[in-house]
Amino acid sequence: MSTVAETQDTDLEALESELLDAVKSASDLTTLEEVRVSALGKKGKISQLMKGLGKMDPEQRKTFGQAVNVVKQRVTEELNTRKDTLGNQALAARLAEEQEDITLPVRSGPLLEGRIHPISQVMEEISEIFADLGFSVAEGPDIENDFHNFTALNIPPEHPARQEHDTFYFNQKEGEESRYVLRTHTSPVQIRTMLSEEPPIRIIAPGRVYRSDSDQTHTPMFHQVEGLVIDKETHIGHLRWVLEEFCKAFFEVDNVKMRFRASHFPFTEPSMEADIGYAKVGDEIKIGEGDKWLEILGCGMVHPNVLRNVNLDPDVYQGFAFGVGIDRIAMLKYGMPDLRPFFGADIRWLKHYGFLPFDVPTIAGGLSS
């Protein structure tokens, strides 16, 4: 006959192996949890044994209690181990399920969709360069009167230069002396600025201009930037410096070759046109190299008659003015072969030649990226 203690020991051993088997054979976390409850839950087999300890005498309680505790510990350990294993297996199974086709295309979002028109971009580049020299940006209306577009600029009625301008006219209005025009150049902004501001003046005036001319290389609307400096000492030497520095900065080259040719504009005297030296390598135009010349701007010292027309004394004040075709220098810099598509709003052209919205030209970051 075995003793009570022996019986208890035998039962305990059987319980242990029963529980450990159950833990081992639990194939998922739910079954394992059931096993844990059946062993360690409130009514679990081990918990019951622990509860029964109170009824034992101290000696027996001590030895049997220790034995139960050992079993509890082993079962708990085994449960935890098994839980980890099953947990890992479950995660692995889930991950195996969660396979996405990572090659599916995504949307890039609006910031990479929109574009800035090259004309706007180039106007900002020009403003940046001249801001460094202290030139403010001035503006004026597209529909101008005869005074600002012609007369004040020393182009009196019947002056042959008026014919050269291919002017768009509006119909004569009653009570008006002359017809309104679409400005043929940005020079009227010179007049508006000199009438409203005191020298020293340093401005550029970019904007739309209009000539009644339409063929492969001319559009009836195009863009110019006017420059004007008025003070008491600025002369042709300064004009040359400003334009050469401008060309270097704009075309982002260390050196440019420029050729100044005498010319004629009614609103400057002396008047000049400037050519820039370039080479053609394949289809690409390289500024600052080669021996070909391309006309890019007109300039000169502001005509004394123009100064008089804006109430400035030509014996005291002097300065220079220049005008550059923005569309043309944009084409040169960025390699657009034709002018006409600039105004066609073809989305393919705009996306190809346009600039991203965060591509802001700065002196610090370089004008183009």
């Binding site: 910031l111 969709e113 574009r115 009836p220 030497g237 040359r240 346009g354």
Partner: protein, 804 residues
Amino acid sequence: MKFTLSWLKEHLDTDAPLDKILDTLTVIGLEVEEVKNPAETLKDFIIAEVVSAEKHPDADKLKLCQVNTGKETLQVVCGAPNAREGIKVVFAPIGTYVPGIDFTLTKAKIRGVESNGMMCSERELELSDEHEGIIELDTKAKPGTSFVEDQDLNDPMIEIAITPNRPDCLGVRGIARDLAAAGLGKLKDDFTEAPKGDYPNPVKIALKFDKDNKHICPVFAGRYIKDVKNCESPDWMQQRLRAIGLRPINALVDVTNYISYDRGRPLHVYDADTLSGTLHARLGKQGENFEALDNEDYDVDETMCVIADEDSVLGLGGVIGGVSSSCTMETTNVLIESAWFDPISIAMAGRKTGINSDARFRFERGVDPQSVELGVDLATQFILEICGGEPSKKTIAGEVPADRDPIVFKTSEIKRLTGVSMKDKDIKKTLEKLGFKVDGKGEKVKVSIPSWRPDASQSADLVEEIIRIYGVDNVPITPLPKIDGIAKPTLTPLQKRARHTRRLLAGRGLTEAITWSFIPRELASMFGGGQDELELSNPISEEMSSMRPTLLPGLLTAAQRNANRGFSDTALFEMGQAYRGDQPEDQYLGAAGVRTGSAKLGGAGRHWDGSAPTVDLFDAKADALAILEALGQDPNKVQITRKVPDWFHPGRAGAIQLGPKIQLGVFGELHPSIVKELGLSGSVVAFEIYLDSLPTPKKKTTSKSALESTDFQTVKRDFAFILDSDTAAGDVVRAALGAEKKLITDVSVFDIYQGKGVEDGKKSLAIEVTLSPKDKTLTEKEIEAVAGKVIAQVKKATGGEIRS
């Protein structure tokens, strides 16, 4: 202006090479546009003799010629009517490039017969437009010799652009003078021996003007030459005229054309036997007309100066002569006319008649008034040399306009305007080589202006003369002094706003377009424009006749063009001026955009992760309000009204107002009939913000207001209201926001529902209200109190009941 190198050398004694001459011309303001040397283009052409010419066996108009080229006899098929035995011709062997037809000859079979080269017309050699037949050379020409050598064609033709201020360079002598001043040789002496006549001019000449228009033709000189024998002009003259693209006519006429180009002095010759009575220069009369030398009839009027005899108008003075009195080969008595006409009158007459003649071109720019007599004398001399005859005395009616006063020239002006220090003697030398006369010494000198320089009138003009001859490229480069310190901002607030707006819109996926400022009138009228004052009187085409009243029509037609190319989901914007009227203040700066198809903010088109729905008015509203917000205008402080222009859908568009008077912009769906009219289809939404109507922020400080944040828990509560279906959500939001201003920081609309459970004519609108307490956590009771206020305020404002 065209001339040849040998012609230039008639006036300029120089050994400068051609390249140097060309470079100098360009730099001193006589820009070289083209140089063509026939000796190069025609170097392969040789002289040949037609040995025999028979009919082509299979073609009536072609001839089968045997041609002796000096080395061999070749068979050549030729279509020219004058191809015949015995003539000397210009022959292009196989392999020759023929410029007039832009073709390099190959051996060919023409109608089955082999042809080994080509006999050429003048047009094929680009010598003239003559193409009646092949060139017949002098019978003494030797087969095998080079055509260029035989004809002495080694004379480059130079074409230069003449700016309107330099009529003196519309004559070769003026060009030579400029080159001499620039150091390229010496201007040759002018001819001095004027022929004298020994009998009175039998043709009376008179000026018939009243006091007010005497200036139109102040002087008219003439000379009669009797018993001339008109003929072809000499080869050298014909060659020069041909080289510059003029067709020789007869010696009398060629002489005037030659002098026109040689001296910039237009002349006219009359067959004196056709004239009846006194020759007048006078204003035309209504109803008068004449047949001009271009074989067109022209009506004249009382603004034009005509030359007339007792019977009829003969020609338009300074513009064109007439057929009835023109010189022909039969002319035996000739009258030479040399007059001076007012540039403005000539320009007006030229524009009215549309005649572009060499004479008009010169007179409207200003011919040297002192060349009136010189013109007569030069012409007399040439005519006597070529045609013989006996000259009468010169007749001069009127007076040559007086010389202008000299310019008082402060020579320091050169340094002041160009930065170049120049010696007095160099200044004097340059000016005098150009024909100016310098009197006096020191700081101020008196400079007399040559009669051929109408453009020079003040100091700055003399500075230009000196600096262009000195060379602008030789002016020392001087840095423009920088303004002290770090560069200051150079944009106006509006310009800065425009930049922000542009990048904002591109950042919202819209692509910037630049469209024409002028649109078809019909289109302008559809968008509130098309007023008479915004209509061009001389548009390029009807498609470009009316100034755009808003930016939208250009963008919409651009969207339509893109849709036609297969891009129907496009988002475009434009910034620029649009025109409410012709005054500066009527021209506003707009920022407008158009979205079509499914061009949503998040992307367009079909996509595996959810295809983009079509755009609606709220896409346009979002773009419009984003601009306002980016420019510092709180979108909660503007009013959205239905005051929209009628090109928008009346129920799906809104206007953005800042008070009743200021409209900041519009947004919405385009009116279906406009969409249809413009050839668009599907959803089309648009917006436009009037950038210059936005008030400029007054704040000058860079400091931002203090951040108001709270550590106490924010609370969100949802409310659903039953409202009349036409109640504006904006009213509900505004009422809720106003219910407890200190606590309620945000109200958003998260659901709108109509249908089952909500009675007809009503809608349910759900809002989420955010409470942000600043000094303590709210108790449930306090939250309930605020909720009560929200419900009450919304009810008060809209009549809406809380949904139970």
